[in-house]
């Protein structure tokens, strides 16, 4: 079995964006988040499973997420959900990535002039 490859340069900010997007819909714990990212992106975007936690903790420390301990089926887990700050951050990140994706699409389609991304 081989470890899944990730592309760190292009992945900067992506786990954050995906996590915020997922958690805006419902609260989840780490394992659920990783599985949801894998299934909803058809495994195109694969984050190292364990490295999701430093991202979660960083977002929580910034106030973008909040966590609570919940016991489900006899197991204690830490569930994360988005705060108001996290929603703003998600909106900003979404806008940036949408602009970036559209600019790259234009370039690939052969466009000559692309507006600067804020």
């Amino acid at each position: 079995m081989t470890a899944r490859e990730t592309n760190p340069n292009f992945m900067n900010g992506v786990p954050e964006l995906l996590i915020l997007r997922l958690l805006q819909q419902e609260e989840m714990y780490g394992y659920e988040i990783v599985q949801a990212i894998r299934s909803r992106t058809d495994a195109v975007i694969a984050v190292g499973e364990g490295v999701v936690y430093p991202v979660l903790h960083g977002l929580e420390r910034d106030g973008a997420l909040k966590s609570r301990r919940k016991t489900v089926n006899g197991r204690s887990r830490i569930y994360y959900s988005v705060t108001a700050i996290g929603s703003h951050r998600l909106a900003d990140l979404s806008e940036t990535w949408t602009n970036l994706a559209s600019a790259i699409q234009k370039m690939l389609a052969g466009g000559q002039h692309v507006e600067a991304i804020p």
Binding site: G30, Y31, G50, H57, R61
Partner: protein, 242 residues
């Protein structure tokens, strides 16, 4: 704790990640690993295969460590400002502890020995278990124990956070010198109204015997405070080499 997680914990602590963040990270990783193992077992793998597959999916220990270490916000204060934690904080803590000890001495003097010129050498009459005796002896014990307790505190923090030996040694030497060189003086006539005045001075001594005495005292304090830390480091080094 499994060996890879044990090594990851040591790696993170040595890199300066705060222990509480390390603890939480490892707890969540262990939970995640258990979920992955269960998933692999449901997929028909044997327990041993499921375990190794789960570790592969979790990620390499170096990557897991790097992801946490790169987040500078999780660095402990011991890593960010060791000079403050191991030099400034112990000195301030010792100053506060001694202030409390001297305040208790002064209070006891006012309450139990109102006629005495100093609280030293004025025997409280009565049996040894009398409250006044216990009060002054307890204060004296607290006063002399303060540098030792602060020193053990330094050693505990340094051991817990796997700090390089240089900073705790600096802190322990500072505390030992402070503990050995201080002198308390009390006089009822030093201030008007005979209200009583307690003062602390720091001096290495003016004669050779005094200097030797203070240095010996400092050495004893340093030995008492540094010994548990030294034993812990030797034990750790031995367990790693074994």
């Amino acid at each position: 704790m499994s060996k890879p997680f044990h090594e990851l914990r040591e790696h993170l602590l040595r890199a300066g990640v705060a222990p509480r963040h390390v603890r939480r990270y490892l707890t969540e990783l262990a939970d995640h690993l258990a979920d992955l193992r269960a998933e692999e077992e449901r997929a028909g793998r044997s327990r041993a295969d499921a375990e190794s597959a789960a570790f592969v999916r979790l990620g390499k220990m170096d990557d897991l460590a790097k992801a946490m270490i790169e987040q500078r916000q999780f660095q402990s204060w011991c890593a960010r400002a060791p000079w403050a934690i191991f030099s400034l904080a112990p000195v301030l803590l010792l100053a506060v502890a001694w202030f409390v000890a001297l305040f208790l001495l002064w209070s006891g003097w006012q309450i139990f020995l109102p006629g005495a010129d100093t609280p030293f050498g004025s025997a409280v009459h009565g049996p040894i278990y009398r409250f006044e005796n216990i009060y002054f002896q307890a204060d004296k014990f607290y006063y002399f124990a303060a540098p030792i307790l602060v020193g053990w505190g330094i050693a505990l923090v340094a051991a817990r956070q796997r700090v390089k030996a240089i900073w705790p040694v600096v802190g322990l030497v500072l505390v030992a010198l402070m503990g050995a060189m201080n002198q308390v003086r009390a006089s009822r006539t030093a201030v008007p109204d005979g209200f009583g005045h307690v003062r602390m001075d720091f001096a290495i001594g003016s004669s050779a015997p005094e200097i030797y005495f203070h240095l010996l005292h400092a050495l004893i304090l340093l030995t008492i405070t540094a010994l548990p830390y030294l034993i812990w480091r030797l034990q750790k080094a031995y367990s790693f080499s074994a």
